[in-house]
């Protein structure tokens, strides 16, 4: 078959099974957009800002496990995509970003809308390609999808000069069936000797903890993790990125760990004698001071990325491979040796954890207080959303206190349902990522829990939601300030509130969303909270934006004491630490 470059690119995406392209047109991408116009297999979603395109593709990828696809033009289109690429990179999310580029002969001349996209994106991509000839398009697209979706996943940029996508020149096109990159060979199966060592360590441990992160979700290893714990019955904690990979309503679940982790999760990690780190990377929000991290624990680290192991915390046993394959190997061995598991040892450990939970665990019943003499608590808002959505929604979030409350109080029982920017902490992620999730799962409930600061960073996407009729439910936990920054200023700067207030400049969100054709609900009193949130969920065919005015002085607790603290050093409430 002979095709022009623009059609080759689009045909290659179709061959990869792409359903949606999130993008924004412009000069260098015009040929490509002409090809998009002339096909029916994929739908192009026109966002309102390229950042929105990347987050939407990212949300789609996190919810489905399939790579998200982004199309932008050169120059400002490409640079606008950078924040979203970095967001996907930090959380190892598979994404393909195709950027138009000026014509080959103009590269390097400071041509109109020329930027060195490969150079700008280099530190925040898994890999990138410049297309130098039409005959390489199919091979490059094939390799890009392979790289983005294998090993430790991540975003891949394909930069393509305008002349390469010209409709005028036809070349042979055949989409490759297989791909083999000789210099790229991510590990799959673990070393059996290491698996034996892990099983020994598990059988010998008195106070083991499973610490599972986002890598367990990327590897689709939730079932294997649950199976492992059906044999060994140990306490499980998840990172912010890992929530849902182990059911939150299971009695062995400790909650999230780390900076705003639960008391029992952080205490269990600190006192553990064995930590099974599964697809987690000992981020600084998890370890607190690395030298003081889990002083008595033997560390077993499962990861597909060699460079993550012993980067921050030295591993005693390293298991390289796809987490799914490694857990399958552990399971088949431990099943055979299950008679050797000493359940009395574990009972003592569970009893200790129950004591921690009873003393300083989170209060999940705050929503029951409906009195109007107190301001609405943000925690209670999340609890109501959890009740009203029956714990079954996809929940995207932004960054700040509202995000931490969502992570603490919405109990995720399945992987890929909690969608948030953990690594980069990108305000503005919540709304566009919810669009990607809703397009992937039009019949599922998709909720965005946001703050009045974050929502304004990509609020233009409300217009995209009208155009494509995406009935997302947005809950704006409105504390009239950049709450998380304010909390740090309260705790570390004697309450000097530098630049965290908008004074009187906030829009009336209800009328704002109504002007886009959406439904707005405003809630200011506890007595309105339950009904207001339920009403939002009862409206099925419209986007509903619920603006909820909460106590502006609330802080997120627990909070790790830093600098120089360990995981057992936590603030538990204002002025009160362990």
């Amino acid at each position: 078959m002979k095709l022009a470059g623009n059609d080759m690119l689009i045909q290659s995406l179709i061959n990869e099974g792409v359903e949606y392209i999130f993008g924004y047109p412009g000069g260098a991408a015009l040929h490509i957009y002409d090809s998009i116009f002339q096909q029916k297999e994929m739908q192009h979603i026109l966002v309102r800002h390229e950042q929105g395109a990347t987050h939407a593709a990212d949300g789609y990828a996190r919810a489905t496990g399939k790579p998200g696809v982004v199309m932008v033009t050169s120059g400002p289109g490409a640079t606008n995509a950078i924040t979203g690429i970095a967001t996907a990179f930090m959380d190892s999310i598979p994404m393909i970003v195709i950027s138009g580029q000026v014509q080959s002969h103009l590269i390097g001349t400071d041509a109109f809308q020329e930027t060195d996209m490969i150079g700008i994106s280099r530190p925040i991509v898994k890999h990138s390609f410049t297309v130098d000839h039409q005959s390489n398009i199919a091979q490059i697209v094939k390799e890009a999808f392979h790289i983005a979706t294998s090993g430790r996943q991540g975003p891949v940029v394909i930069d393509i000069p305008k002349d390469i996508t010209s409709p005028d020149n036809l070349f042979d096109f055949e989409y490759p069936k297989e791909v083999n990159i000789r210099s790229y060979n991510p590990p799959l199966d673990p070393d059996p000797l290491q698996i034996e060592r892990v099983v020994e360590a598990i059988l010998n441990a008195n106070q083991p903890v499973i610490y599972a992160g986002g890598g367990t979700i990327s590897s689709n290893a939730s079932e294997e993790l649950k199976e492992l714990n059906s044999y060994i019955n140990v306490p499980v904690t998840n990172t912010l990125m890992g929530l849902g990979v182990y059911p939150a309503t299971d009695e062995k679940f400790l909650g999230m760990l780390g900076m705003h982790g639960t008391f029992q999760a952080n205490m269990a990690m600190h006192n553990a004698d064995l930590i099974l780190a599964i697809g987690a990377r000992f981020d600084d929000r998890i370890t607190n001071t690395p030298e003081k991290f889990a002083p008595n624990a033997q560390i077993v680290h499962f990861d597909v990325d060699h460079s993550s192991v012993s980067k921050i915390i030295e591993a005693d046993i390293a298991v390289f491979g796809q987490v799914k394959n490694s857990l399958t190997a552990i399971n088949s061995l431990i099943k055979k040796r299950s008679a050797e598991i000493d359940s009395t040892k574990i009972q003592k450990w569970h009893a200790q954890i129950a004591e921690w939970k009873n003393s300083h665990g989170l209060n999940h019943d705050l929503y029951k207080d409906t009195s109007d003499d107190k301001p609405i608590l943000p925690q209670a808002v999340v609890q109501h959303i959890y009740q009203a959505s029956k714990g079954d929604a996809f929940v995207t979030s932004d960054v700040g206190q509202h995000q931490m409350f969502a992570a603490q109080y919405y109990h995720f029982d399945e992987p890929r349902k909690w969608i948030n920017s953990g690594g980069l902490g990108t305000m503005g992620f919540g709304l566009p990522s919810a669009m990607g999730v809703k397009l992937a799962y039009p019949n599922e409930e998709v909720v965005c829990i946001t703050g009045e600061g974050s929502i304004q960073m990509c609020i233009q996407e409300l217009s995209t939601c009208s155009q494509y009729k995406l009935p997302i439910k947005i809950f704006n936990i409105n504390n009239l300030s950049l709450g998380m920054v304010k909390q740090w200023q309260d705790m570390n700067y004697d309450g000097r509130h530098s630049s965290i207030s908008y004074e009187d400049s906030l829009p009336d969100f209800k009328s704002l969303v109504e002007s886009y054709g959406h439904v707005g609900i405003k809630i200011t009193k506890n007595s309105e909270l339950k009904n207001g949130i339920e009403k939002a969920f009862s409206i099925k065919d419209k986007l509903v934006f619920v603006d909820i005015f909460v106590d502006p002085n609330e802080h997120v607790y627990p909070m790790l004491v830093a600098p120089n603290g360990s995981l057992k050093d936590m603030w538990l409430s204002k002025g009160n630490k362990t």
Partner: protein, 109 residues
């Protein structure tokens, strides 16, 4: 901290060198010296061809020699980070070699 020598064999593709150099900067590692040339004689690298079941041809790969002054733990981290670059086929320091994900406890380059 001691001065170490790293040797890399990588695909000779546009932008590949920038990825290696960029990685040093991005991760806060220092480069004391850097030397690049195309590999003309594949005889010393025949084991790579055998192990990875590939065949090099002329002009396809380059050799980089980088000197850097770091401690042991950071050296290991640098090796692993560079090994992750898609276009790097093999990298070694004095004690170990990564052949695309396969770690060997000797300097094979």
């Amino acid at each position: 901290m001691i001065e170490r020598q790293l040797t890399l064999i990588m695909e000779n593709k546009p932008g590949a060198l920038a990825r290696v150099v960029g990685l040093f900067h991005q991760r806060g590692y220092n480069i004391d010296s850097l030397h690049v040339d195309p590999v003309e004689d594949f005889v010393p690298y025949k084991f790579i061809e055998d192990e990875l079941n590939i065949k090099f041809s002329k002009g396809e790969v380059s050799r980089l020699i980088i000197k850097t002054t770091v401690g042991d733990a950071l050296m290991r981290q640098i090796l692993r980070q560079i090994n992750k670059l898609i276009e790097v086929i093999a990298i070694s320091d004095n004690e170990s070699t990564y052949l695309k994900g396969i770690l060997r406890d000797e300097n094979l380059l």
